[in-house]
């Protein structure tokens, strides 16, 4: 089928640019990690770009995305500013979460990117709750819930699919099956390796899509999003994909063969889309070069922004644990919660002495 029938050159180039942006961003993350600018865990998305971009391009801006901890690329695909993502990885005050989240906990309410979560399958019950909001308010919002193949063996996966189906909630569950839960191959961890097939246990549709083909993902999710918006209930999508790097920066990758890696790398979604576009004459010959240049500039700007940004100030440490609350009662009077969330710590000695002065004298 000709691409010209379905997509404009601009649309395709945009998807290409997004995938390339994620790729270059992640390559730089690896470099910055090695140089010591980024610490902690860092799970790179290299190889899986077609999934995030295919999904995000099929969603409306008001749709939610919620995901696990390999989420730098997904955040960028959902519209988060690469500068703020990079600054978060650097642990800077200008990061998406002010440096409090880090690699695994990106979040952007405005972009409806509802977070990266680092407990396998932990985000799935939350996705059900977001779907419940849409259903409760009778909005046509869709929730895209991404997770890895490892999540399928968690109870939360099963509880979430069951409840979403039972309540007919607008959630698209998207499993990025990259064949390994950390170092354990799917067939060594999951009895039914055909993950889409798990859908039948919950009475919902289950589909596989080619996670190395951004257009396949885009088309699958676009179609399902229409159904879900129409009130047809949740679906399970299995995107077959592969991460080109290790589970995290610390992974020596001893559990895969070079042959296997080579087979998947030949299916790299980024050059694949470039070839398709060129073959069908949908992009000018120099457009791809220009795109790469602009992407490299954007990532360089993100690094510069992260490097130049200040670290979070000390007073941020104990901020944002609780919301200091005030509320109005029926008489219109404003009440303050006296806790004000200064979770009590031992007072300074002077304060203790002062307080003692206030109390009655001892008998």
């Amino acid at each position: 089928m000709k691409l010209t029938a379905q997509y404009t050159g601009t649309q395709l180039l945009q998807m290409y640019r997004q995938m390339l942006l994620i790729r270059v961003f992640e390559e730089k993350v690896a470099e910055m990690y090695t140089k010591g600018h980024i610490s902690g865990f860092s799970h790179l998305y290299i190889g899986q770009e077609a999934v995030a971009v295919g999904v995000a391009s099929a969603l409306a801006g008001t749709d939610y995305m919620i995901t696990a901890y390999r989420e730098h690329g997904q955040a960028i695909a959902k519209g988060c500013d690469p500068k703020e993502v990079m600054a978060e990885l650097f642990g800077k005050a200008t990061g998406l979460c002010g440096g409090k989240g880090g690699s695994m906990h990106l979040f952007d309410l405005e972009k409806r990117f509802m977070g990266g979560f680092a407990i396998v399958a932990g985000q799935m019950p939350l996705a059900v709750g977001l779907g419940l909001c849409a259903s409760y308010r009778e909005e046509d919002t869709v929730v895209a819930c991404l997770f890895g193949d490892g999540a399928v063996n968690e109870g939360a996966f099963h509880e979430s699919l069951n409840l979403a189906s039972l309540w007919n909630l607008p959630v698209i569950f998207i499993c990025e099956n990259n064949l390994y839960g950390m170092g354990t191959a799917v067939h060594r961890a999951t009895a039914l390796t055909h993950i889409a097939g798990h859908a039948c246990a919950y009475g919902i549709p289950g589909l596989q899509t080619d996670g190395m083909d951004v257009l396949a993902v885009h088309e699958t999710v676009s179609r399902l999003a229409r159904n879900v918006r129409d009130g047809q209930g949740p679906v399970l999508v299995e995107a077959l994909t592969y991460r080109f790097r290790g589970h995290s920066m610390a992974d020596p990758l001893k559990y895969r063969t070079p042959q296997e890696e080579e087979i998947w790398k030949r299916r790299d979604p980024i050059p694949a889309l470039a070839e398709m576009m060129s073959r069908e004459g949908l992009v000018r010959s120099d457009a791809l070069t220009e795109t790469r240049q602009s992407v490299e500039q954007e990532v360089a700007a993100a690094i510069a922004f992260a490097e130049e940004s200040p670290v979070p100030p000390e007073q941020q440490l104990m901020q944002d644990i609780y919301v200091p609350t005030q509320f109005m009662d029926s008489t219109g009077a404003l009440h303050h919660q006296p806790m004000s969330i200064s979770v009590d710590h031992a007072p300074e000695p002077e304060q203790a002495l002062a307080r003692r002065g206030e109390t009655e004298g001892r008998e």
């Binding site: 932990g122 409840l163 307080r355």
Partner: protein
């Protein structure tokens, strides 16, 4: 002021808050058609309908998680766990998600969810249905832990909790659902973070909460007959603690006994005692005492169960040794 049972005070709070705010809804096991295993949600399904009073499968992790997700999306869920024992299946959602979401996302979102659940021992329900886990929750920054002991506080604290922007563990007690007390009608809000000096005294301070508060109160009444004047503090909010009230009382009576039905090791009492020592040590005339449950999985047999739990006589005995 009308007298209500603790369960009916909770019911009234739910009804009033659901009437006031269309975003408030209830979800949990058997909360709708069955009307709650302790009948706290009686009549709510017929009044508010199945959209706002939702039965769930027996699946605690998704009950907790869906409530958290709904709160992130702007609703005000009140999720019920049938007993505290089942919250253990939802601990990942409560501790790793509800408690941390606001902080790790840089304060860019709040999680206004209330988890209601009864604790309690002493009804011969055996080891897996007789425990108090408040210190588990109090250990986690990001959670607020409430444990009302009277019908009035049950209503007032639940209403405040539903209006609060933070994730809240609202610990009821299976032994208290039937107790009666005066409950203010309509708008009655008890502030979070404020303990109640339920009885004034001069010789010793009894700090307690939930069902154990009634042990402390009973002990204070009996001690009064021996001319020992006990002040009784009902904490109401277990986290964060109202240390102002605790310190003031400790500095006034110079003797403190903490009464709790939870296990001794890692009991919240230890935290309270340490904070008193850190701040008003010089005011104390005797070592702080704890009266707690024994460190044992709860036995079924009535006599053994009674031995495992703190009794009024234990509180009185601890006080007599100090004064």
């Amino acid at each position: 002021m009308p007298e209500l049972a603790y369960r009916d005070a909770l019911n009234q709070a739910l009804r009033e808050e659901m009437t006031r705010d269309g975003r408030v809804f209830i979800m949990g096991e058997d909360v709708a058609f069955y009307e709650g295993s302790y009948k706290v949600t009686r009549g709510l399904l017929s009044e508010f309908g199945p959209k706002r009073v939702r039965d769930t499968p027996i699946a605690e992790e998704v009950i907790a998680g869906a409530a958290i997700g709904a709160a992130m999306g702007g609703l005000r869920p009140v999720a019920e766990f049938m007993t505290v024992n089942f919250t253990l299946l939802a601990m990942d959602q409560i501790v790793n998600h509800a408690a941390k979401i606001r902080y790790m996302f840089g304060g860019n979102i709040s999680v206004p969810v209330v988890f209601r659940t009864p604790q309690g021992s002493g009804k011969q329900l055996g080891a897996q249905h007789s425990q108090q886990l408040e210190s588990w929750f109090c250990h986690c920054p990001g959670l607020i832990v409430l444990a009302p002991s009277t019908p009035a506080d049950a209503k007032g604290l639940l209403k405040t909790a539903i209006r609060d922007e933070n994730p809240i563990l609202f610990l009821e007690n299976q032994n208290l659902y039937g107790i009666k007390g005066e409950v203010p009608e309509n708008e009655h809000l008890v502030p979070i973070g404020q303990a109640n000096v339920a009885r004034e005294g001069n010789d010793v301070t009894l700090i307690s909460y939930s069902n154990a508060f009634h042990l402390a109160l009973k002990a204070a009444e009996e001690l009064a007959e021996e001319s020992i004047s006990a002040e009784v503090i009902d904490l109401r909010t277990l986290h964060p603690l109202d240390m102002e009230t605790i310190r003031r009382s400790a500095a006034k009576t110079h003797r403190v006994v903490i009464v709790s039905e939870a296990w001794r090791t890692g009991n919240l009492a230890a935290e309270i005692a340490m904070r008193i020592v850190e701040s008003v040590f010089d005011e104390l005339d005797a070592p702080i005492r704890r009266v707690t449950a024994k460190d044992v999985p709860m036995p079924y047999s009535r006599d053994l169960e009674a031995l495992a739990l703190p009794q009024v006589a234990d509180v009185i005995g601890a006080v007599r040794e100090m004064v």
